[in-house]
Amino acid sequence: MYFLKRILFLVPLLVLISFLAFVLVHALPGGPFDRERAPASPDIERHLLAKYHLDEPILKQYGRYLNGLLHGDFGPSMKYRNHSVSDIIAAGLPVSLSLGALAFCFAMGVGLPLGFFTAVHKGHWQDYLGSLAAAVGICVPSLVLGPLLIMLLAIKWRWFPVALWASPWHAVLPTLTLGLYFAGRVARLMHEGMLATLHSEFITTARAKGLSETSILLKHAFRLAVLPVLSYSGPMLADLLTGTFVVENLFQIPGLGVFTVNSSLNADYTMVVGLVLLYAVLLLVLNLAVDFTHCLLDPRVRYD
C-alpha cells in the first residue's frame, strides 16, 4: 500500500519537475539560435523561433510540450536539428546505463569484499593496506585517474584502447575510472558496518552458542553490515548513471553525460527538460527500489 502511494505520487512530482525545468531553462540568457554569426535578416531569426514555437508565451509552450509528453514525444532537439530528443536519449541511454552498471558492479565487486576483509582483520597489516587502498580510491578524482590509466595502460603498454566505445575492451578503462571512487566508498561503508555489527549482542550470543566463525561472519554479520551499503547504493547508482560527464568526455563515449552538460550550455531547451525528466525518473525509481529492498533484507524495517 505504502509503495503504491509512492508510485502514484511520482506523477504530479514529475509534472512539477518538468514545469520548473522548462521555466528555468527558458529564463537563461541566450536562446538556442544566438550565435556568433547573426542571420542575414531578422526574418530568418523569426522563422527559426516560429518553427520551434519559441515566439509563443511560455505557458502555451509548456502546454504544447506537456501534450507532446503525454504522447511520448520529447520534442525535437534545437541543437541537433535532424534528431528528436527521444532519438538522442534512445541512442545514449543504453551506453550510459551500461557504463554506469559496469562501474556499479565493479564498485560492489571490489568494495564489498575489501570492506569485509579489512574489518575481519581489524588492526592487522591487511586492514591497513586495504584501508589505504580504499582511501586512495576515494581521494583520486576521475579527472586525474582517467588520464593516468590512459597514459599507462593504453598509450605505454597498449593493453586497452585510448578512447571510443566499440568493444568490451573499450569499456575497461572507463569502468575503472568511474568505479574506483565508489569502490572505495563501498569498502569504507562495509568496513564500518561490519565493525559495528561484530560488536552487537546477537553476535556475542551466536558465538556463545558455538557457531563457527565463518557462519557468524557470513550468515549473521554480513546481512546487517551490508545495510549502510545498500542505502548508499541507490544514490550511488544514480550518481553512476548520471554523473558520467567527465569519463564520457575523456573517453569519447557516446552516452548521455556529454549531452547533460552541453545541452544547457547550448540552450537546447527540449533536450535539457527531457534529460532532467529522465534523471528525475531514475532517481525516484532507484530510491523507491532501495527502500523496497530494505524491507526485504531487514525484518525490522516496516513501512505502512
Partner: protein
C-alpha cells in the same frame, strides 16, 4: 565455494539477480560491435549539428555535408576556388547579373534517379522557404526576390530569380553583379538535395536510409556523438576520382583525447586548432605531422560605440594602438598566427587589404589625451567581454588578461574582465551590454565581401552600434561594379575607414589553418585560404589500393 554463492542464503534472489547481471552487461557494453577500420579516420571536432545542407552552419557540419551533397560548382581541392560541379559549364551576361548553368549529362541520385535542373530549383527554394528556417538563407539573398520570398513579402516561389529552362539548364538572375556568386554555388547551403525523398519523408529524411546523395559519398552511419561513416557513392559523376572508399568522421570534444587517438593509430587526420591541445603547441608544432597555412579568419575586438567614451573614435584608435599584437601571438597562441592590423585576411581573392593601425603607444597616449583623458585620468571603468573557448582551452581568457595589462600600462585605464558562457555572451553582444568584446569572424567564401559586409549599418552582425554613411556608400558602390579592380579599390576605401579612421573594431590576429597528419601516409590535403579539403581528394597510402 565462493563468497558470492555463500551469501546468497540470507537474501535469496537479490544477490543472485545482481550477479547474474554481469554477463548481460558485458554483452550490452559490447553491443555496438567492432567494425573494420575505415580507410581514412578523421577527427572532425564537435559533433555536427545537422547534415542537411539547408541547415548546416558549423565548419564540422559543412565538411561532412560537402562530402554528401554537391551544388552546381564545387571547390577545387588545391586552391578552394570554384570549379564545375553538377554543372559542367556556365555563361555570365556582360552586366554580371545573369548566370546560365548547364548541368552534366548522366547525373544520378545515389539509388539511380536522374538529377535535373528542377532539383536545383527545388533545393534553393527550400532554403529560402520560411518553413525550412534555414539560418544561412542569406546566401541566396543575392538572387532576385530571394530575400523577398524568405521574408514573406512575396508568396509565389516562381518569382525567385532562378528558373529551370529545361531539364539541364538553370538560369539565375541576381540583384547586382556579385563577384563571388560562383563561390556561393560551391557553398554547402546551395547544394542539391533529393526532392522526391524529402517530400516523402519530411522532417525525418536525414534519418532515413539509404539516403540519396548528389556528392561523392553516401551516409552509411550517423550515430550522434559516436561516429559518421561515409562510403563511396558509385553513382557520383566523378566517382572515378574518389580516393578513399570508406571514411569515418569522429566527433571528439576533448583535444587530449583526439591526440591520444591519433598517437595510437586510431585516427589519421586531426582538423582544426581547437582539436589540438594548446598546452602542447610548442612540442607538436615541431613535428612533421603539423601543418599550418593562412586561413580566412580574423580575431578582433568590437567596441560598443553607442555610449561614451567609446563613441569617440580617438579613444578606439588609442585602444588599438596600445596593443602589442606580436606579444599576444608569440606568447599565447604560439601557432604561427600573423598579427592583424586590418580585417580582411591577406591573400583574399580579388583584393589588397587596407593599412590599419599598428603598435604605437606614444600616439595612443596622445589620442587619449586629445579625447580628454590624459594619462587615462577620468576614464570611466569599463568592461571587456569574452566567452569560454571551445574544447576547454583558455585562449580568450589569456588574451583578455594580456590586453587588460597593456591598456593599464600604456594608457592608464582600468578594464574589468567579464567572462560569460557562449550563449549569454552572444546575447550581451547583441544587446550592446558590453564596452569592448572579443570577436571572431570566419569567411564563408574567398572574397572581401564576406568580412566587410558585416559592418554596414544595417547588418545584424555589426553589433558595435557603429553607423557610417561613407562606409555604406563605398560598399554599395563596390557591389555594383563589374570591374574587379575598381571594386577592390572601393572596398579598400571602406576598409580604411573601418580599421584606421574610425576603428569601431580592433583586429588582433589572423587565424591559421591547422591540420595534423603524417605527410608520408596521407595525401591530397592542400593548404588553401578556406581550409577546405574535399574528402574525396584525400587518401591514405599503403592500403594496397593505390
Amino acid at each position: 565455494m565462493s563468497l558470492a554463492s555463500r551469501i546468497r542464503e540470507p537474501s535469496p534472489g537479490a544477490w543472485r539477480r545482481l550477479w547474474s547481471l554481469w554477463p548481460g552487461l558485458l554483452l550490452l557494453a559490447g553491443c555496438t560491435g567492432s567494425e573494420p577500420r575505415a580507410d581514412l579516420v578523421i577527427i572532425n571536432g564537435p559533433d555536427p549539428e545537422t547534415l542537411d545542407p539547408a541547415l548546416g552552419t558549423g565548419l564540422e557540419d559543412l565538411r561532412v555535408i560537402g562530402a554528401l551533397f554537391e551544388g552546381l560548382a564545387r571547390n577545387d581541392p588545391v586552391t578552394a576556388l570554384p570549379i564545375p560541379g553538377l554543372a559542367e559549364s556556365w555563361e555570365v551576361s556582360p552586366d554580371g547579373r545573369v548566370y546560365t548553368f548547364h548541368l552534366r549529362d548522366h547525373l544520378w541520385w545515389s539509388p539511380g534517379q536522374p538529377i535535373t535542373a528542377n532539383d536545383v530549383i527545388y533545393s534553393w527554394r527550400r532554403v529560402l522557404d520560411p518553413r525550412t528556417a534555414s539560418e544561412y538563407a542569406g546566401q541566396l539573398f543575392y538572387i532576385k526576390n530571394g530575400e523577398a520570398y524568405n521574408s514573406g513579402k512575396i508568396q509565389d516561389p516562381s518569382l525567385i530569380g532562378a528558373q529551370a529552362l529545361d531539364a539541364r539548364t538553370v538560369r539565375v538572375e541576381l540583384n547586382h553583379p556579385t563577384a563571388f556568386f560562383l563561390d556561393l554555388c560551391a557553398f554547402q547551403t546551395l547544394a542539391v538535395v533529393p526532392r522526391h525523398f524529402i517530400e516523402k519523408y519530411g522532417e525525418d529524411w536525414m534519418r532515413t536510409r539509404p539516403l540519396p546523395t548528389s556528392g561523392p559519398y553516401l551516409l552509411q552511419q550517423w550515430r550522434l556523438n559516436d561516429k559518421i561513416r561515409l562510403v563511396k557513392n558509385p553513382f557520383y559523376w566523378d566517382a572515378a576520382h574518389t580516393r578513399s572508399a570508406v571514411v569515418d568522421c569522429l566527433p571528439i570534444s576533448a583535444p587530449n583525447t583526439a591526440l591520444n587517438l591519433y598517437q595510437t593509430g586510431g585516427a589519421d587526420i586531426i582538423w582544426d586548432r581547437d582539436n589540438i591541445p594548446n598546452e602542447l603547441m610548442d612540442v607538436l608544432s615541431r613535428r612533421p605531422d603539423y601543418h599550418t597555412f593562412p586561413y580566412q579568419g580574423t580575431y578582433f575586438l568590437r567596441c560598443n560605440t553607442t555610449h561614451p567614451p567609446f563613441n569617440d573614435s580617438r579613444v578606439r584608435q588609442a585602444l588599438a594602438l596600445a596593443i602589442d599584437k606580436h606579444r599576444l601571438v608569440e606568447k599565447i597562441l604560439r601557432g604561427g598566427e600573423p598579427v592583424a592590423d586590418h580585417l580582411v585576411p591577406d591573400g583574399t581573392a580579388h583584393y589588397l587589404p587596407a593599412t590599419g593601425l599598428g603598435y604605437d603607444p606614444p600616439r595612443a597616449r596622445r589620442l587619449l589625451a586629445q579625447a580628454g583623458y590624459p594619462g587615462g585620468k577620468g576614464f570611466p571603468h569599463c568592461n571587456y567581454l569574452f566567452d569560454s573557448a571551445s574544447g576547454g582551452e583558455k585562449i580568450h581568457e589569456k588574451v583578455a588578461v594580456e590586453l587588460k595589462q597593456m591598456w593599464r600600462d600604456q594608457l592608464g585605464i582600468q578594464v574589468d574582465l567579464k567572462q560569460m558562457e557562449k550563449q549569454a555572451y552572444q546575447v550581451a553582444q547583441n544587446h550592446f551590454d558590453y564596452d569592448i568584446s572579443r570577436s571572431t569572424w570566419i569567411g564563408d567564401y574567398n572574397d572581401p565581401n564576406t568580412f566587410l559586409d558585416l559592418f554596414r549599418s544595417d547588418n545584424g552582425n555589426n553589433r558595435t552600434g557603429w553607423k557610417n554613411a561613407a562606409y555604406d556608400a563605398y560598399m554599395e558602390d563596390a557591389n555594383r561594379q563589374v570591374d574587379l579592380t575598381r571594386r577592390a579599390a572601393l572596398l579598400r576605401e571602406a576598409e580604411t575607414i573601418l580599421v584606421s579612421e574610425e576603428a569601431p573594431i580592433i583586429p588582433i590576429y589572423f587565424y591559421v589553418g591547422f591540420t595534423y597528419y603524417n605527410p608520408a601516409r596521407i595525401k591530397g590535403i592542400y593548404p588553401n585560404l578556406l581550409d577546405d579539403h574535399p574528402l574525396n581528394a584525400v587518401w591514405k597510402t599503403g592500403l594496397g589500393k593505390d
